[in-house]
Point group: C2
Chain length 256, copies 2
């Protein structure tokens, strides 16, 4: 039994990923958009927009960081590698943040591995330019530090979430965060890949997905997930969704 819940097979839910449309504006990243015109005029010329494929790695732990990436319409994943070789996500980064937070803390070596989770584009800045701007521009520094704090908060929340909340709840949270980051309701993701992100079995994800689909929250087919009922999905997610969302909002609030 696999009710298709209104998903026709021919529906082209997601635009072709490598479609040859022009690269998006760096200002799609909320941090870059929050900069003053003056700072933007200094920063943007140092950046280039880069398209990333799924699973494309941008940092390997214990190797030098070369760039600082500000996702635009991509989602990046930062993972810890266990002794078994298994990986476990410690942060996801979309247009609300930047990947190499340690670079804002004077680090030059990546202490985690990061790769592209949802294909798209990032605005990329060489780490030297990033550091130079941090040093010389208080506005830039302040904003970056806020983003670092938001990231720290989200990782802390993840630690408690991983300990306390059931797989379905975490799955729902993941879907909602991804929707917020991408600004759309459908993504190309396989259960296999989701299992990797959520630190669970593929079979476990399939079951959680079935639960949410039966409840009418989502619909999915081969490699595509679509959010159907936002409110219902939110109700089935854990409070960590709201907490992370709020952390992001605080990051972009002036009075903080």
């Amino acid at each position: 039994m696999s009710p298709r819940m209104g998903l026709t097979e021919s529906a082209n839910l997601v635009p072709p990923e490598g479609s040859g449309s022009r690269p998006p504006d760096p200002l799609g990243n909320r941090l870059l958009a929050a900069l003053s015109d003056a700072t933007r005029a200094r920063v943007l010329p140092a950046m280039s927009v880069v398209a990333l494929e799924r699973q494309q790695h941008t940092n390997i732990y214990d190797t030098p960081m070369r760039n600082v990436d500000f996702p635009i319409d991509a989602i990046m994943s930062v993972v810890a590698t266990l002794a078994t070789g298994a990986t476990c996500e410690v942060a996801a980064v979309g247009r609300e943040g930047f990947v190499e937070v340690d670079a804002a803390l004077a680090a030059r070596i990546a202490h985690r591995t990061s790769f592209c989770q949802i294909p798209g584009h990032v605005a990329r800045m060489p780490i030297d330019a990033f550091e130079a701007e941090l040093e010389s521009n208080t506005e830039f520094e302040t904003l970056m530090l806020r983003a670092v704090r938001a990231r720290a908060f989200m990782t802390e929340q993840l630690a408690t979430c991983n300990l306390k909340h059931a797989l379905v709840e975490r799955f729902a949270r993941w879907l909602l965060m991804t929707r917020d980051r991408l600004g759309r309701r459908e993504f190309n993701v396989t259960h296999e890949f989701l299992a990797m992100m959520l630190g669970a079995r593929r079979a476990g994800v399939s079951q959680a997905a079935a639960t949410l689909q039966t409840a009418g929250c989502i619909a999915y087919r081969r490699g595509v997930v679509m959010i159907f009922d936002d409110a219902a999905l939110t109700a089935r997610s854990c409070e960590c969704y709201g907490a992370q969302r709020e952390a992001i909002e605080i990051c972009f609030r002036k009075d903080n």
Copy 2:
């Protein structure tokens, strides 16, 4: 069956906590000890040594931070509060670090609650003095940022540990980290309190403790745990112990 494993009842394993001995040297904190003489001469006069009782709170989330605490022979705990009111540890801080990492990232509001886990002393600096020193002293800033990175790394590791590792392993890790932070093998802790730190039931901790005691790794009685066999305990802990330990060492290495 509760084999006492060489613990005689009269043995005074742990010195009385509130014993009237003189307060310890702030340089018991490794960060403060790592500062140059010149910087220390500026920083130490602004600090005071404060004794903390178990469960004494030093920060409440969403309230202003007043001080920055560098543990000397205390261990502090930073926790997230869930909607149910339950708390979940997101970081433990001993003499290798300082509690209010966000203060080094220009924050003035605590975003988490923190309290004293193992009673002892902290070297306390008013947050204004801390910020002033950060601004004016590159050496100080560099060291603090390294400590922030170590803390971020440890929280990330905790996120994966909470997801992937069994309670006994996490318990063993906790014991080893605590030993390292305190420089002794016995601590006053109840199973109840440990359960709170590990995000588990009291009964679950009792069982894990029994397992480790039967294996000869530890010995315990009412409110006291003692590490017996370091190697055996390490073998039963997860890799996260080593990872956290290494993060601390890197923090204190010059070439980074």
